[in-house]
């Protein structure tokens, strides 16, 4: 195999093995930062040796064996200076394991639990959400700091610093590398799901740059969601998040027009939806409910998305069901924004007059006072009721609340449409 080919093979092996490698090492050395360093050293060794020796039959085991030997070397070197009893114990454990660097021998203690432990550690609530996102992409998605920096349009040094600091925080806080206990699970899981959904949203509706979509982040988030669903099959919200992401991603190519303009859900060409992802999303949603556990915001949002996915045409949309799901969502996560969305659904299901009463009830919500969608929705309902002058005033008010040029041009169009 030529050198360039070996390099490409190593990239691919790293892509497949890095997560399990780091996760497995973290269990031995009980430090995520050290585990990643060791994994990197093994990667460097592979880059040096494989072009000469060829790619080993079981590259994953080779990397793990190499990394473990490095771990022992490090501990020994440290022991020369000062030998702590704790480290001695670790040393012994490592020595015992490293003599048999055969992964098959570890079948009884599956790696998957290691990966799960790593997910919960990388997304520990002690870390800021930015730190969680960066660590997750680095340790669990196997992205390089360069790739992360490119995806987020920030300098590589920023990402590097964020990751270094995150690792230090974990070490300083003595965060144990483990799957949280039952009582702690909901909060810890929420922290994981939040980070994954944030990656997804940055991929789906990029906040920086002139590109709407960052396919690489979108795909990583989908993959992380699928991984988690396989590792924690009993948790409804894990499937709920996966369903939500699959269903939203299924519309990615239909939601941007030829000139880069956004196309709203009801205006999208549904033949352009990714029907394989739709199918996966609907199955994931079924799984969420099949767990029998209490569903939360991700599952309910996915259920709403699914109502749209099941409709062959916008006219087929089951708005009555959507209203019912919003009722559930308003109970689980009450917020004026949810109420506003619910009002829109009520308008579609039961007519604008009923919806307008709901929207008027929201008029004094401080959270919505600067939210351009409140007057936009109100204007839309008024227009449907034939009150064009009132509608126009609402659209004009909305115009003062948004700086987004695309939204402004939509509003200007609606104002013109309301000319009496």
């Amino acid at each position: 195999m030529a050198g360039a080919d070996v390099k490409r093979t190593i990239d691919a092996v790293w892509r497949i093995e890095s997560t399990r490698l780091i996760a497995g090492l973290a269990r031995y050395v009980r430090d995520v930062g050290l585990a990643e360093d060791l994994a990197q050293e093994a990667l460097v060794a592979a880059l040096e040796q494989w072009p000469e020796s060829g790619v080993p039959d079981n590259p994953g085991a080779w990397l793990m064996g190499t990394a473990k030997h490095r771990a022992i070397d490090r501990l020994r070197r440290r022991d020369v200076h000062r030998r702590k009893t704790e480290e001695l114990g670790r040393d012994m454990e490592l020595r015992g394991e490293a003599d048999v660097p055969d992964l098959a021998a570890e079948a009884a203690d599956p790696f998957d639990d290691d990966v799960l432990r790593l997910i919960f550690t990388a997304c520990h609530p002690v870390l800021s959400v930015e730190a969680r996102v960066a660590l997750t992409l680095r340790l669990l998605a196997g992205l390089t700091t360069k790739e992360i920096a490119r995806a987020y349009l920030v300098p590589e040094a920023t990402v590097q610093q964020r990751i270094v600091r995150a690792k230090r925080t974990l070490t300083a806080a003595r965060v144990p590398i483990e799957v949280p206990e039952h009582a702690e699970l909901p909060e810890r899981l929420a922290s994981v799901l939040e980070a994954i959904y944030l990656i997804f949203n940055e991929g789906y509706a990029a906040t920086a740059g002139d590109q709407w979509l960052r396919p690489e982040l979108l795909e990583e988030a989908l993959r992380l969601g699928r991984m988690l669903a396989a590792l924690l099959p009993g948790e409804p919200e894990v499937h709920g998040l996966s369903a939500l992401m699959e269903l939203q991603a299924s519309r990615a190519r239909a939601r941007v027009g030829p000139d880069g303009e956004p196309i709203l859900l009801l205006d999208q060409d549904r033949s352009r939806w990714d029907w394989m992802l739709v199918g996966r999303g609907l199955v994931a949603l079924e799984r969420a409910y099949a767990t029998g556990g209490a569903v939360g915001t991700y599952t309910l949002q996915a259920a709403i998305a699914a109502c749209h996915s099941r409709a062959r045409t916008p006219e087929d949309t089951d708005w009555v069901s959507i209203v019912a799901i919003y009722d559930g969502l308003a109970q689980v996560a009450p917020s004026p924004v949810v109420e506003l969305n619910r009002a829109v659904a009520v308008g579609m299901a039961f007519g604008p007059a009923q919806a307008l009463r709901l929207v008027d009830d929201l008029a004094d919500e401080p959270v919505l006072s600067d939210y351009h969608l409140l007057p936009t929705v109100r204007g839309d309902l008024l227009e449907k009721l034939g009150r064009r002058a009132d509608a126009r005033a609402e659209f004009e008010r909305a115009l003062t609340l948004t700086q987004n040029s695309r939204e402004r041009s939509v509003l200007l169009g609606r104002i013109a449409g309301c000319a009496v």
Binding site: A12, R15, P215, R223, R226, A230, A252, R253, P258, M276
Partner: protein
């Protein structure tokens, strides 16, 4: 990228023989690994070509040919659809597929990239997109 991984048929699959229990166990483990890695999107095994049919097209003629078909190595026994980062990643995964029962026979697995040119809306120029939309409209008889 999305790839379709095509598992070519062999004598065993074409005769409708089930794989050994050992291979089935290994295959199940491999499939689980794909799922846990978030790579697996879909996958199915196919019955032998004896249970299938072909429709041959020539001008306006349509000729139905019932299976089985002779050219075993060109036939399919199953497929997966995977989400991977690169063709190399797909190749690495394919290398890990458990070895078939018959050591002597050559088995082939083919990796093909699923066409996604308009995938995320960014790659296609407006002009190309228009042409594609026209093609679509034609295909749908609009």
């Amino acid at each position: 990228m999305r790839v379709m991984v095509l598992i070519k048929a062999n004598e065993q699959s074409e005769h409708g023989e089930m794989p050994s229990e050992e291979l089935l166990t290994e295959m199940t483990a491999f499939n689980e690994e794909l799922v846990k890695a978030g790579v697996m999107l879909a996958g199915e095994g196919l019955h032998p070509s004896a249970k299938g049919a072909r429709v041959e097209f020539k001008g306006n003629e349509r000729k139905v040919v019932d299976g089985p078909f002779a050219e075993t190595k060109e036939l399919l026994a199953g497929y997966w659809v995977w989400q991977v980062k690169s063709l190399d990643e797909a190749i690495e995964w394919v290398k890990r597929i458990p070895a078939p029962d018959d050591d002597a026979a050559t088995s082939v697995v083919e990796i093909r990239q699923v066409f996604e040119s308009e995938d995320f809306g960014d790659e296609l120029t407006p002009e190309l997109r228009e042409r594609e939309a026209a093609m679509r409209a034609q295909a749908e008889g609009a």
